[in-house]
Symmetry: C2
Subunit: 351 residues, 2 copies
């Protein structure tokens, strides 16, 4: 019995107070402290109280890292996104946080800048930290290297982006519906030439929206013209460039559907520079409904996305997967999109 060195350890706490100290203070066994504090129902109330008092007095705080090691659960979720600075990211993040908070989980947030290499690095950072699950809000979700990392067994959800080649749990939005409503709105205003600024390549969402655009044009028997589809990048600059290219066309669209609000803002910048008025000279529709879209100098008609709700839904799904260790069949949840008509759309100019 005298072999353990535990005894002399009892006195020396180098800064942090541990469960040992609480046990000693409360005059109970170490395991009792753990049981009492973690709310085991078989602990006598008086004991629990005694323990709690001791803990309080000593300023004891559990070490989540020790607990994580033991429980093989870190109570931490990893979030991978292209760019926090994109105005739509924080809303998703908030939704994720809503659930994480209520599940006592922390959030490890990483940016990938849309670069595969960075994404891999960040995924490793997350996995090495043994996060309980991953929320992927980033591109490259069908790259082999990414998939390899995903095979690791850590539960994950795709949010807003997905891999068409894999059956993953996914939360997205009904792009058909959103784009459809936008085109219907424009058609109703008499627009016959509708342009599209595409989202980045390697984005499933951008693909879906493109398809929905084509479908929408067909549905309203509008002209489909490859010149009216310009590649964007979800950023202002891309929208600006696309806008300039549109304006340079001889037969140019009377309405532009932008990949997202930031692209639409880019178009606004370009229009301003070119002396074109919106919606007098052409109509413009964004997508996302970021806060800024509603500011009166911008006043952008756009297709709203329920980002916070989507983030929360994805995280709920993730938590479910984490809880029931076994991976049942992947779930999908598609949120509605809603057209918000503001001041950037108006009747088509008579030709």
């Amino acid at each position: 019995m005298a072999k353990k060195a535990t005894q002399n350890k009892l006195t020396s706490h180098n800064g942090k107070v541990s469960i040992h100290d609480v046990a000693r203070e409360a005059g109970v066994a170490l395991s009792t402290v753990s049981n009492a504090l973690s709310g085991k129902d078989y602990v006598r109330e008086t004991t629990r109280l005694k323990v709690r008092e001791a803990a309080e007095k000593l300023g004891y705080r559990v070490s989540v890292v020790a607990r994580s090691l033991r429980m093989k659960r870190t109570f931490t979720l990893g979030v991978l996104l292209a760019d926090v600075a994109n105005p739509s990211s924080p809303d998703f993040l908030r939704g994720i946080e809503d659930i994480a908070d209520q599940e006592q989980c922390g959030l490890l947030v990483c940016n990938t800048d849309g670069q595969l290499e960075k994404q891999l690095t960040q995924m490793r950072v997350l996995l090495d930290r043994r996060v309980d699950g991953l929320v992927l809000l980033s591109q490259h979700c069908q790259q082999p290297a990414v998939r390899a990392l995903l095979e690791d067994g850590t539960p994950f959800v795709m949010l807003q982006r997905r891999s068409l080649q894999h059956e993953d749990t996914y939360v997205g939005a009904n792009n058909d519906e959103g784009i459809g409503a936008a085109i219907k709105h424009l058609a109703g205003l008499g627009h016959k030439r509708i342009g599209l600024i595409r989202g980045p390549r390697d984005s499933s969402t951008a693909d879906e929206r493109y398809d929905a655009y084509i479908e929408g044009l067909k549905a309203h028997r509008l002209e489909i013209n490859p010149q009216w589809v310009i590649q964007g990048d979800y950023h202002v600059k891309g929208g600006y460039d696309a806008g300039k290219r549109f304006f340079a066309l001889d037969r140019r669209p009377t309405a532009i559907l932008a990949a997202n609000d930031m692209s639409a803002i880019g178009v606004m910048n370009a229009a301003h520079e070119a002396g074109l008025k919106i919606p007098a000279d052409f109509s413009l529709i964004g997508l996302d409904d970021i806060e800024m879209a509603s500011f009166s100098p911008i006043n952008l008609t756009t297709i709203a996305l329920q980002r916070r709700e989507m983030g929360a839904a994805a995280t709920s799904l993730l938590m479910k997967m984490i809880r029931q260790k076994s991976t049942p069949k992947p779930k999908k949840k598609i949120f509605p999109m809603k057209l918000i008509v503001r001041g950037s759309t108006g009747p088509a100019k008579a030709d």
Copy 2:
């Protein structure tokens, strides 16, 4: 010697492969694996290679949680901010991330929504996870309860907010300079009545800016009028309300200095609603220079803050504190502010 149960453990890895497995695969001792992988220079190169190969083959990834427990270092930083969704937050976050990444640290990000209660909860979440350090980008930094948590010994930096009652390591901006330049600019344009939308209470930065505003007016011998100082909250809504109150004044300012760009946007919304033109009817200056400020429909004259640089500087300071365990004297780093003249300022209207 036959008492240890280590041996039968060697075969059973329930999912994750551990350093044990690598040791066995490589035919070396467990500690050698650790040494080899963590780059100890006394490991023979051939051994290191052998180990690396084995690790690769088995798909071994270090468990940062186990390492954290052992090393008493989690390689994780906690970031506390009022709101990720505020457009200026992500830029700070990026700066923080720049350094964290290069230091192999992860970032645990929490929102407080400016609520003391939430801030305390989040701080506990962070501290329980034994983050190596804290970046505080949130209010309430002089509340006793917050200070108590800070006493815990975890290194921390104040970014953009600080406690005037405590000597903390702090990274901020030169508010005098920024506000001074703005007022000089307005005075130069002939403005004699300059209003201010104040930042939230309990914010040191808002206080500093208010002081700078008063100093600026004095320096240019301009009228100081309490009616021209309206409380805002750094949000659009607060700016909108303030704007309306300004417009309702009988003798109203010909120029408004907003607490931040979001407040300024709020004023723009209010002006639009009231049929007032900027800068024809009054001039407006924001503060932050968020990306949006440069978009042509907004085109806001503003005072730029080097957010990303500030975030990075704060984090560098923090890392330094973490490394040299001892807490030397707190450092301060003040960044310049720069007036960016755009289209929201113009000559004062003749009275």
